[in-house]
């Protein structure tokens, strides 16, 4: 049986590298490096000059089958006059505080967390800390690649660590 986590990672990775390639192409076109001769629509030699990488690797970046390392991204983004965060992560890292603060989670899991965490609010005087703890937990759970049953077990484990809220 294939590992479920590995399948999730592979699916998301394909999306990410394609999105990165689209942003790279957009930034190159906006910076005047458009080319009608190239399939990718941009001048690959410019990317070769910026990165110091081979044309083969640069084609992979533009096809969405590879991504440069972070420090190389700084060079690319500086030359193309875009932020490295935007180039790497898209709108969610483009100094857009609203989207940066958003998270996405399955409704069933969120409901489960809210139901199971009732006891913390019922008995704890540290309500602000409880809220921060739950927000971190929800954020973390939203990034875990596994099935619903296992996520629920993780929620239970994490909430069990918070029983001391009731004691103090």
């Amino acid at each position: 049986m294939k590992n479920l986590g590995m399948i999730f990672v592979a699916m998301e990775k394909i999306d990410f590298t394609k999105q990165f390639a689209a942003r790279l192409r957009d930034a190159m076109v906006a910076a005047g490096h458009h080319s009608d001769k190239s399939i990718s629509g941009v001048n690959i030699q410019t990317l070769v000059n910026i990165t110091g990488h081979s044309p083969q690797i640069c084609r992979k970046y533009l096809r969405g089958s590879a991504i440069p390392e972070p420090l190389k991204l700084i060079d690319i983004s500086t030359k193309l006059k875009v932020s490295p965060g935007w180039l790497l992560f898209g709108a969610s890292n483009n100094n857009d505080a609203r989207s940066h603060n958003q998270l996405s989670i399955d409704k069933n899991i969120l409901l489960y967390i809210l139901r199971r965490s009732n006891f913390l609010y019922d008995t704890s005087p540290q309500r602000e800390e409880v809220s921060e703890f739950l927000l971190d937990l929800i954020d973390d759970i939203s990034k875990i690649d596994t099935d619903e049953e296992q996520l629920k077990k993780i929620v239970d484990l994490a909430l069990s660590s918070a029983t001391h809220f009731r004691i103090t």
């Binding site: 390392e69 690649d145 596994t146």
Partner: protein, 163 residues
């Protein structure tokens, strides 16, 4: 041969102490742009146990088994006790997968692994930042002593959870 394995309770330990762990890491998150800290303990039986400010990252890494391709957890690297950037430790054939899982999915633009031996155990401090700015870039590149101090501070407080 040093065969590294996960401690039997590796996955439950990631989450079981989350409140205590969160409170310790909270002291250092935000300093120098640090947005992730994890400490991995490798005991004398070569078993790994990790405590993390962002346990989802380590869950995904270890559950997907990609950690086998991350030299951070290879004795030949961590026994040298020399820090290295995350991406320099990804093996070539799974570089993109590791880069995606550790840095893109969780948006850590800079990441550093800092290994140290204490008595008979090895520890690896993993420290990462979501931003690439001149200030934190300098710390991540050059001021490894400072990052070790941050790791030691957290490790001293969390040590009982590893034993």
């Amino acid at each position: 041969m040093n065969l590294i394995t996960l401690a039997p309770d590796f996955f439950s330990a990631l989450f079981r102490h989350q409140l205590n762990v969160r409170q310790v890491f909270k002291d250092v998150l935000g300093l120098y742009g640090i947005s992730h800290v994890a400490i991995t303990h490798i005991n004398e039986k070569n078993q790994l146990l990790t405590l993390s400010s962002t346990p989802s990252l380590e869950f995904n890494l270890f559950y997907s088994r990609l950690w086998r391709y991350d030299k951070t957890y290879h004795p030949s690297w961590y026994q040298q006790e020399k820090p290295a950037s995350w991406q320099s430790l990804y093996t070539a054939d799974r570089y993109d997968d590791l880069y995606f899982l550790k840095q893109v999915k969780h948006q850590y633009a800079l990441g550093l692994s800092l290994p140290i031996k204490v008595n008979h155990a090895h520890f690896i401090y993993s420290i990462a930042s979501k931003t690439i700015e001149k200030d934190n870039d300098t710390v991540f590149k050059d001021d490894h002593a400072l990052l070790y101090k941050i790791g030691h501070y957290c490790n001293n407080k969390l040590l009982p959870l590893f034993l």
